[in-house]
Amino acid sequence: MPKLYTGAEIVFKCLEEQKVNHIFGYPGGAVLPIYDELKNHTSIKHILVRHEQGAGHAAEGYARSSGKPGVVLVTSGPGATNVVTALTDAYMDSVPLVCISGQVPTHLIGTDAFQECDTTGITRPCTKHNWLVKDINDLQRIMHEAFEVATTGRPGPVLVDIPKDIQFAKTKYVSLKKEKKIEVKNKNKFNQKDIDQLIELMNKASKPIFYTGGGVVNSGPKASELLRELVALTGFPITSTLQGLGSYPGEDNQFLGMLGMHGTYEANNAMHDCDLLINIGARFDDRITGKIDEFSPKSKKVHIDIDPSSINKIIKVDLAIVGDVTDVIKSTTKTLKKKNLNLEKSNKQKISKWWQQIQKWRSKQSLNFINSDKIIKPQHAVQRLYELTKNQDTFITTEVGQHQMWAAQHYKFNKPNRWMTSGGLGTMGYGLPAAIGVQVANPKKLVVDVAGEASILMTMQEISTAIQYNLPIKIFILNNQYMGMVRQWQELLHEKNYSESYSEALPDFVKLAEAYGCVGIRAENPDELDEKIEEMINVNKPVIFDCHVDQAENCFPMIPSGKPHNQMLLGPKDQEENKITGKGKALV
């Protein structure tokens, strides 16, 4: 007779077979059998968070910085509802998460039992798929299928809801190797004809541009290498979405910076004027396209994406290539080389005019700001942070708001998986727990959460988690005492009626840091900034860095609402210059 295992044991056997090393969670009544089993599995380390949302974001940070799925363990009822924000966040940003939730015993489901909620019902719209395990004999299959669904195709979160009686029930376990391999639908649906067509378009183009997104990062580090080769081979300019930053070196000359609402002048104008737009792993988000009717009106559009439903959803494209970015780029470069089309040389003349135009836009230096020697400008703070950390392999997470955009604009990334930010859902409070997950996955590396004082207070409790596990994350708060992005919109569009956007009754962040048992550092003027940042980097403990910045600073450049890419609003410096010369008023 084969050995029988409890549901709780099977959960861990599956996690071990899936090579899981870390789970982020919080115990409770309905998951106690699983927590009881934890001690018998030393290869799996549990990170105890302070709130289930934190577990979800930490698992996201873990997944995005390591390329492995993040695993979350929560109890029924409030445990499950608390993790919903993180699941939705992961769904929007295509992050592979496997969430295991406890549920009340099967016979109590539907009776409004203590800590019961319809977990699979609540999480249905924010997961790729979810399962309620009603039979112990289904548990093993479902667990492995959960990992399969989370990590294949366009990645995303899944949830497995396990009633308490199922965690106690016993059955036999068959090792995954013996199990029949779960059939994976082939994700690549393109053929050589599509690639040939792409190359023909590239060959004909005189104003081409690559527009790359998070899909390149999700496709794995190989995709970034291949992308660099392709960009070098073609000589085309490249711009990236918020989520794609790092897949192409931020300081490279062919890189035009981020595009979209707070993207650079050159990237957005190039998107508007190009005659060939090659979208690699991005999804034409509304923060990217601006006004749809006037989005890149003169271009042929190519869309490379693993998710067929992303294609033609927002923008109608001329050529759709459904497949994994790595495979598509590989085929493209291979064909380019085989046809011996050295586009960089043969196209040089054709594209050189395009590059001249781009240089003109570039000379606007749209990320410039008026610096001060009295008060710390937030952009300056990010620039200094970059200069002082670029010599090491640094991981950056952010919260959501102005600081997030300044980090995206002024911190330059050279490698994928180094930049973790909540782009789709825009979850304030994402950065601190995400930094914890990043640090768990990358123990020796420098991890900085560029934060705002309003966002950080949403998940502040997780600093305890960082202390407990000696995770020396750095919380770099650009403290302007406002919900800055809200204030900016109120200033520009609501006649400076700063309704409820002032951060009243803020804590003393230095004392708060000390209360938690970590290090608090405050910087109040530009002279001391570098020294304090170095101090922060050199402390081998979690740090809360309270950087007092200009309260009135706005994030520029920006595309005002309802406007196309070529009508950007530039910063105050440029606005002033324009007033003097009287030129380019249309830009404002």
Partner: protein, 182 residues
């Protein structure tokens, strides 16, 4: 144009609405219908009618037929989004005007009246395969199968013939000829 105060773009021109019949083959498992219906409500798609039942007991497959209206872009999205659901096997998409597809709905009609009156009513729905399922000396239950608009019309006409209760199904669809949909 007044200055927009929204961080979101304003809606742009919308193309013409079309009515489509979407046929979805799914695993007959718990909550599969709510996954399909939830996709429609969550993304703001429209359901005009819905019919669902198991069609293959051995393979545990159900067939869901949904009548929906939307722009061609929306219809394309519906099909692609449905295909992403884990329990969905395949998705068929037909225009309502498609001559190669048969659409039928069924209705049960309860009429009150003497046999002469009921005979008249029965005569009125002659074209729609009427079947008498129950008859007493002062009532009858008649089953008809027809297109939606035909049933609409019949219901209206039969009001004067003693119609007091109507029960209807959603549309089901089948392609004409020997081919099956793959």
């Amino acid at each position: 144009m007044p200055k927009s105060k929204s961080a979101y773009s304003t809606p742009t021109k919308v193309s013409k609405l079309e009515t489509h019949i979407i046929v979805v083959w799914v695993d007959n498992e718990a909550s599969v219908l709510s996954r399909v219906v939830g996709l429609f409500s969550g993304r703001g798609y429209n359901i005009e009618s819905l019919a669902v039942a198991e069609v293959d007991q051995k393979n545990n497959l159900s067939r869901i037929t949904i009548v929906t209206t939307g722009t061609p872009e929306v219809i394309e999205q519906i099909v692609l989004q449905l295909k992403k659901l884990v329990p969905v096997h395949k998705v068929g998409n037909f225009k309502r005007e498609d001559k190669n597809v048969i659409f039928k709905e069924m209705a049960l009609l309860k009429l009150i009246g003497n046999s002469a009156k009921i005979k008249k009513a029965l005569n009125a729905c002659k074209k729609f395969n009427p079947v008498i399922l129950d008859q007493t000396n002062k009532s009858a239950v008649i089953q008809i199968t027809a297109l939606r608009r035909e049933i609409d019309k019949m219901v209206k006409n039969l009001k004067s013939h003693g119609l007091i209760s109507v029960s209807r199904t959603g549309a089901v669809a089948m392609t004409r000829g020997a081919e099956i949909f793959n």
